[in-house]
Symmetry: C2
Subunit: 407 residues, 2 copies
């Protein structure tokens, strides 16, 4: 008998019918004698509908009031799911984040969880209830309603699992686990039985959007056993996200190939290489609220350097025009950019102990005639920026060369 | 400078556009230097949508969970209205019932307000905010979300006005005040400048559904100055609902003619007139959850009596068949019924000090050939049950005979 926290995403609870199916699934777990805490998202589309209403009233709605309206989405789902559990003959009680209480800071629309009071939940579990807690929301010290930002229900579930010292936190989504890469690009992609938190973080931040990054960080920090499962299939163990030590000794060197199509590259050429140059270039970009991903500064020649970075493709034009202004001010030689690039990364904790992974990767890409425009590495990841048209080819080649298509 | 509580119904906040208009109206009051607390209902149709969702999941949803889902309707409106007030350049903050906190008992779906904490509201008013409080909802001692039942936002507004000792509680609706009778039946009907709580209670319970009855009781009990106004017209003072002593000395004897079309009459004939007979007849009716309105027992003749009562027309067939069973058990002579009746009432505190009102009423109806089937009186009301086809005629005749069509 275990204590399990189960999180169901918006698609899984997208209609009355689906909510009933989720209830039946929970009933099967409950019948095995487990204690269950459920964290549902808002019904798919509902959060967008609510924010759309807000935009009809105000072009720039107050973040505090946005949280008041947005949090109703999950509140509707917890009530419906509790009713569906009653229909399955189970005892169930719902709680909003503020009711629990999930204490957060006061950063409306992207609050951080500070503490969770587990008293009510434990009392209701002890009385035989399935406890249904609204994801995505909490309240600050003064009782103001807060939300955790898009995808915040994952974080709610993990934080609840940590507070309750749950045996497992199960995230039900529309995929049945984490794959070595996107099966739509590489049909041979395999579901991973386990992946480490660090790898998952790199995969997630690179665009394999199975889990919200913060929830993975949280799970790693509080050692929550996290599992990704399909909410539409009854079979399968999903993918267990685990700490490195628990992974099998014979782990593969590379766990997966991640990619991000939405990447654009900008270079400012011939900048005088003086202290503070990086800030002078990126300061105005940050002020314009543009997220910068990879940053590379080439070795300086004759006191001049080239400085490159990548941004979301949607921000390309805005970033380019800011950079052109900066180039004039800094007396740089000019600005070049390419909005048709993409990023491909090999991720794996195994590369820590295996030298030569980078050269293997570069040789494989070179053999296919794929030119590497930028390179960036971390301890467990190597990323390259290449022309977008080579994306699928590069992913397939790397998936194969690192043996990911074999059991 | 006054403290005013303003309540806006679902139609008044039925769209983004209407919410903006409500905000502009509030801004005008605020510009006059008043402190304003606003209590909006859910957008029209929203509560029904939410309850419809619940019914899709469960035929008999848990009352506790119904309140969790239903309370989101007002939560959406308070956020939108606050945003709209910001757009008007005002400071505004929204609170749900549980946030305030509006403490209620635990009778889900029809909870009663026990106490309102005015601390947050006073603090925010002092800081120059318009405070927007969700109507219809509260929380019990244990923090469970409760709702006050249909129309409960009126009660929320009056209770808030009482707790804050507000100078006035304004109820904005789709009519511009309380009328001497329904203008659709009598074009000469006039808006009343004032009406007493007692009269308003009789008018409301008789089908002039301007205000929720409980809110009127509440206002009477706590001496809240209550005013009904149109939310679609900018002019007009509406109708002030006041305590009797404050009414002008030259008040009319009769304030209004109320009616209820939805009335059906049942009579059990020749019942042995023994103690407990009324309970034997009405007990099974009450058990079947049928509301009984008027009850009349005729003087007994030769140990037998006729016993009549009225029910909602929708309950007529059910009540008749229950009564027929009772008639057999009680050895009564039989059961007769008429589902084509209606009730017409003259209401006015003035009749306390003016004898002869009843006979004036009966004579006027008799002169038009309208047969009176049942009569029931209270201190400030005389009601008659008549054939439904005479309803409009009776209302017009009484409206005229009591001088209500004259200023």
């Amino acid at each position: 008998m275990a204590l399990i926290v189960q999180k169901f995403g918006g698609t899984s609870v997208g209609s009355a019918e689906r909510i009933k199916n989720v209830a039946k699934r929970i009933a099967r777990w409950k019948a095995q004698g487990h204690d269950i805490v459920v964290v549902p998202s808002a019904m798919s589309g509902e959060t967008n509908r609510l924010i759309g209403l807000a935009k009809e009233v105000s072009a720039a709605p107050s973040p505090r009031e946005l949280d008041v309206i947005a949090s109703t989405g999950e509140q509707v789902t917890i009530a419906l799911l509790s009713m569906a559990l009653h229909e399955c003959g189970l005892k169930a009680k719902s709680y909003t984040g503020p009711q629990v209480k999930v204490l957060t800071d006061s950063t409306y629309t992207k609050a951080r969880i500070l503490k969770i009071d587990d008293q009510r939940i434990r009392r209701d579990l002890a009385a035989g209830n399935v406890v249904v807690v609204a994801g995505f929301q909490g309240a600050d010290e003064d009782g103001n309603i807060t939300t955790l930002g898009r995808g915040g229900s994952d974080t709610s579930a993990v934080a609840l699992a940590a507070a309750l010292k749950a045996d497992e936190c199960q995230i039900y989504t529309d995929v049945d686990g984490v794959y070595t890469t996107d099966p739509r690009v590489v049909p041979e992609a395999r579901k991973l039985d386990t992946i480490t938190f660090e790898e998952m973080l790199e995969m997630a931040s690179l665009g394999s959007k199975v889990l919200q990054i913060r929830s993975v960080e949280f799970a790693g920090k509080y050692k929550v056993k996290l599992r990704v499962l399909s909410s539409f299939e009854d079979e399968g163990e999903g993918t267990l996200i685990t700490v490195e030590e628990e992974k099998s000794m014979e782990q593969p060197i590379i766990s997966g190939i991640a990619f991000n199509r939405d990447e654009a590259k900008l270079t400012i050429l011939g900048v005088p290489d003086l202290p503070g140059v990086a800030f002078k270039i990126l300061g105005p970009i940050a002020e314009a609220n543009i997220d910068v991903d990879m940053i590379i500064q080439n070795v300086s020649q004759e006191g001049l350097t080239d400085f490159s970075f990548t941004v979301n493709r949607g921000d390309f034009n805005k970033a380019k025009s800011i950079l052109e202004t900066s180039a004039v001010e800094m007396k740089a030689r000019g600005v070049v950019g390419d909005s048709k690039t993409c990023k491909v990364s090999a991720v794996g904790v195994g590369m820590r102990s295996h030298p030569g992974i980078a050269s293997k990767m570069f040789r494989a890409l070179g053999a296919e005639g794929i030119n590497i425009q930028m390179i960036s590495t971390s301890e467990i990841k190597i990323s390259v920026v290449i022309e977008e048209k080579y994306l699928e080819l590069a992913v397939r080649v790397l998936h194969k060369v690192f043996g990911l298509d074999k059991e």
